[in-house]
């Protein structure tokens, strides 16, 4: 019942929005190349479902591998930076600066570095994009240590790395997941958009550009819907992983 109450309002609003969209397109006689009706997009989605699925899987694999790689590197780098205060002080502004750069713009350069049949360039772009939010958040979490925990571990004569493993890292988990939630959405965007710049054309991004080039707008939109679903799946998967990784949080309510 509680579940239904949580899900029903956004669902109702969503359906209402779609209805309104359909109505505006039909009544307003808006040309399909400007804005196709949801029914037309849905029809295309159904017709091309195999291709959408296949392209979605390809983009999803790129996003997933890149996200894992970027997040793992980010957590390692944050661990190292948290142990070396000087490095941490330097790395945060550098990370902020690098984060402001349009990393997707690296895609054409990376594409030239590898084979045209390689998935590696897109995965590298995703990894770089995913790195920053995870790094910045994890580092913040690692540096926030309760003074009592510090004194307690000192009283146990625990070494720096033991302290990092037993106290800093688990204490930073909520921050890590804040970073991962941001990174998971960004990863999908990066995986899709990096295809716009060439490279292997087997994902959702290339389908969207080619459909648009052929003025098949409802089809382009169908792939956009596929990308939306993919982003949603990544986000939800991170939420589920968060619950599993931090059982002490979900057990609070019970």
């Amino acid at each position: 019942m509680r579940w239904l109450r949580a899900v029903a309002p956004p669902l109702v609003v969503g359906i209402a929005m779609l209805g309104l969209w359909e109505l505006v397109v039909r009544v307003g006689r808006i040309a399909p190349f400007i804005l196709p009706a949801p029914s037309a997009i849905g029809e295309q989605l159904w017709l091309d479902r195999d291709v959408v699925l296949e392209a979605g899987l390809a983009s999803g694999a790129n996003a997933f591998v890149g996200l894992l790689l970027g997040a793992a590197l980010a957590i390692l780098a944050a661990l190292v930076a948290s142990r070396l205060p000087l490095l941490a002080d330097v790395s945060v502004p550098v990370a902020a600066l690098a984060n402001a750069l349009p990393i997707i713009a690296l895609a054409p350069i990376l594409n030239n570095m590898f084979d045209s049949t390689s998935s590696i360039p897109r995965r590298i772009v995703v990894a770089i994009v995913a790195f920053f939010p995870v790094f910045v958040n994890t580092l913040r979490g690692l540096r926030e240590v309760h003074p009592i925990h510090q004194e307690l571990m000192d009283s146990y004569a625990a070494s720096g790395w033991t302290f990092a493993r037993l106290v800093r890292l688990p204490g930073a988990l909520p921050f890590v997941f804040t970073g991962l939630r941001q990174a998971s959405s960004l990863a999908v965007i990066a995986a899709v958009v990096s295809e716009y710049f060439g490279g292997l054309q087997d994902g959702l991004g290339s389908r969207i550009t080619s459909a648009a080039a052929f003025t098949a707008y409802p089809r382009a939109w169908a792939y956009v819907v596929g990308a939306c679903v993919l982003g949603l799946i990544f986000y939800l998967a991170t939420l589920v992983a968060e619950r599993f990784a931090m059982p002490w949080r979900s057990r609070l309510a019970s």
Binding site: I148, E151, Y156, V167, P170, R251
Partner: protein, 277 residues
């Protein structure tokens, strides 16, 4: 046997700088095995600093600290003491049992023995049913009991406590005081207990060490002889006499220069002190 010996200890923070603070000046303190000693005094008298010096969390500017016959640093590395603070400081991500196991884990005790020892400690503090809970699922008093169990897990000869019941309500506080005495008696642990509650210090201690501020020093030591402590102790005449003694000692820290100790002003002072509370 002496559990703890502090001799000629001074602590100056920010030495040689403009904001130099003399936190402790020439402190001597001996705690015999199995004794319960409270440190009491106004804020800033250095009682927490003294506790941290004993724990080797900070180092004295001069003087020596000996715990269980070893220099403080060696004693810390050997986990010769357990420590508990005003906040329980439990690790949210560990279950109650795994929190108690932590000091054992850092000592390299194997899994089976860790578990057995943690469960023994949880029985001692009456929380054996909560072994699988997470700290956030417990009340403040229960969390503090877990912290005590954790401090005792390695069976240290010395227990250091920094206002461990300071954040609890009066009823929980009194119950935990009685429990703590039972535990200390059962395990034979010596205890140094920082507090600013006079009744708490008197109820728990064999000796109450009275300190004063600027610079932090020991001004008086009140021996409390109440024998077995029960709830009735809190209403006994001996309890109130000891409270008055401690209170007078605390008051005396300011008036020491002007009033002759034991002089004719004594009844007047105690009346004044009682009216004051």
């Amino acid at each position: 046997m002496t559990a703890l010996e502090v001799s000629g200890v001074s602590k100056v923070f920010n030495k040689g700088r403009r904001d130099e603070v003399s936190a402790l000046h020439d402190v001597d303190l001996v705690v015999q095995s199995g004794q319960f000693v409270s440190l009491i005094g106004p804020s800033g008298c250095g009682k927490s600093t003294l506790l941290r010096l004993i724990a080797d969390l900070i180092q004295p500017t001069s003087g020596t600290v000996t715990v269980a016959g070893k220099p403080a640093r060696r004693a810390r590395l050997d986990q010769e003491y357990g420590i508990a603070f005003q906040q329980a400081g439990l690790f949210d991500w560990r279950t109650v049992r795994r929190n108690v196991e932590l000091p054992l884990e850092l000592r390299g005790v194997n899994r089976a023995e860790r578990k057995a020892r943690a469960e023994e400690m949880l029985v001692l503090v009456g929380l054996e049913e909560f072994a699988g809970h997470y700290p956030a699922q417990l009340s403040g008093g229960m969390q503090q009991r877990v912290a005590i169990a954790r401090a005792l897990a390695v069976h240290p000869p010395l227990l250091l406590m920094d206002e461990p019941f300071g954040a609890l309500d009066e009823m929980t506080r009194e119950r935990l005081q009685a429990e703590l005495l039972q535990i200390c008696a059962k395990t034979g642990t010596s205890t140094v207990f920082v507090t600013h509650s006079i009744p708490e210090a008197v109820f728990l201690s064999d000796r109450v060490v009275v300190m004063s501020a600027r610079p932090g020093r020991i001004t008086d030591v009140v021996e409390v002889d109440l024998r077995e402590r029960t709830e009735a102790t809190r209403q006994s005449p001996g309890f109130f006499t000891a409270i008055t003694k401690v209170r007078r000692a605390l008051r005396g820290t300011k008036a020491a220069e002007s009033t002759e100790p034991g002089g004719p002003a004594e009844p007047g002072v105690s009346a004044e002190v009682l009216a004051d509370s």
